[in-house]
Symmetry: C2
Subunit: 283 residues, 2 copies
């Protein structure tokens, strides 16, 4: 029977996965040396075992990434026969192309170091481009799951809104699962020389509007969206990966957001939706 | 002509190396995204160039390591034909064996990710064990250089002291370069079941004693050593890699250390000795 290894960035999700699958949960002994180096130890025997390491690459991303690499190598050293890395949130996925000459394609570096796993499962990896650098990796889509959750809430004449075209297809999936309308707030088209922004102001009078995106980082996009939604009865923000950097939550609340939801790919007090069933279905 | 790429942990050493070799210095554009991800860009053309990336893995080790990986991959992407990683201080070198079953052999993970470089140069990598996991890597010894520097100081009847057997051979090299006496403060022998510690109290009355080691981290070892050196005229502490974690400097001064010296493998106000000539001789 496979074993679930708990990364320090995903304590809740790894526990849930262990319960869902009926697999043993192993909590590595982890601490820091005085100089900041990570100490890791897995006391359980892993010889010949199949292991699933669950570790989100949420902030601090670099710390969580090095921990994941150490865990993957350690499982291999301890004789695990198949090593799966479950990466609920993939860091550096937005650096998936060179916007200016000479920029680091950081996601490629992340993909390369994760090749030490036999396979990698990533929840909603932001873009096709970011995922194209991975071999032996599968993406786990969860917008349908988000839609079903949002559909279960008591919302009045709801409208799901994608803040840009990049998330439109995914918001559509969520809206269809919830059986509600959806729209796109603005379109951004890049020509060779300029950025053309086309604003849309959907009819939101008296409606409950859910601004839906894959990642909320500083909350800037959500705050901008709010300015176009005057007249809405209630505005909610929902995302898969809730990074909520700095004063993001305060900014969103000040802009008029009544409720904030995210999944447990990045664990926080806003993680009201679990992606555990979606991950389990890929194992 | 090769190019020197400046890592953010080694601004001074990389500049010195560029001057010493007469090679162009390239400073990558580096900043942080709001969520903490590293942004890197190298504006210079590197096509067909030989590049030398200089980046210490001093604390915060994991941040500096990820930056180094991004830089190495970026140089390759930009068409560099030969990529050398100069690692003045190698992190995780003390986790070079499993002291307890199930521990991560972290240095092996570091060695593996650095294989993306064509060759790796490491200054004083702590132990043979730590270095055994590297392929295409060379160690740069600098204790002779330390000895020559210490020998140029105005010291009275100096004695170089190794705090344990692990550094004895290296302290001997320094002492011979300086033309002074050396000794070892204590011996530690591990049997199957116990640790046997044998103390030595060298005659230090009226002498200037230099406690010499490869790494000073919390300063604990140096502070312990001081307790055995009553009667010395002056006690100095000297190391290659001065991490000086937390209140290390304060603790050492309180224990009676009059002067603290380190090299620039870890850059600080104590970096009075440069290893640039030693690195240059390996390029």
């Amino acid at each position: 029977m496979p074993v679930v290894i708990q990364g320090s960035a995903s304590p809740s999700l790894s526990s849930k996965l262990s319960k869902e699958m009926g697999w043993r949960l192993v909590r590595p002994e982890m601490r820091r040396f005085p100089d900041g180096e990570i100490y890791l130890r897995i006391a359980a025997g892993l010889k010949g075992q199949e292991v699933v390491v669950v570790q989100s690459l949420s902030p601090p991303q670099n710390e969580h990434l090095i921990e994941l690499l150490l865990l993957l190598d350690l499982c291999r050293d301890l004789g695990a026969k198949k090593v799966t890395a479950v990466v609920p949130y993939l860091a550096y996925a937005r650096q998936d192309r060179r916007f200016r000459e000479g920029e680091a394609l950081s996601i490629k570096t992340v993909a390369k170091v994760l090749e030490r796993a036999d396979r990698v499962l990533v929840v909603e990896p932001h873009s096709k481009e970011s995922f194209s650098h991975f071999r032996r990796a599968r993406e786990i889509r969860v917008f349908t799951l988000l839609g079903r959750y949002l559909g279960s809430l008591d919302l009045k004449n709801p409208l799901f809104l994608s803040p840009d075209e990049g998330s439109l297809q995914r918001v559509k999936e969520a809206a269809q699962a919830a059986g509600v309308e959806f729209d796109c707030l603005w379109k951004e088209r890049l020509s060779d020389t300029k950025v053309k922004v086309e604003w849309r102001k959907p009819e939101v009078g008296g409606r409950d509007v859910v601004v839906l995106d894959d990642i909320i980082s500083t909350g800037g996009t959500v705050v901008e969206a709010c300015k176009l939604l005057k007249g809405a009865r209630k505005i909610l923000a929902c995302c898969v990966h809730g990074l909520f950097v700095g004063d993001a939550v305060h900014r969103m609340r000040s802009a008029g957001i009544k409720e904030i939801f995210s999944t447990d790919t990045v664990e926080s007090s806003f993680s009201r939706i679990s992606v555990v069933s979606a991950i389990a279905s890929h194992l």
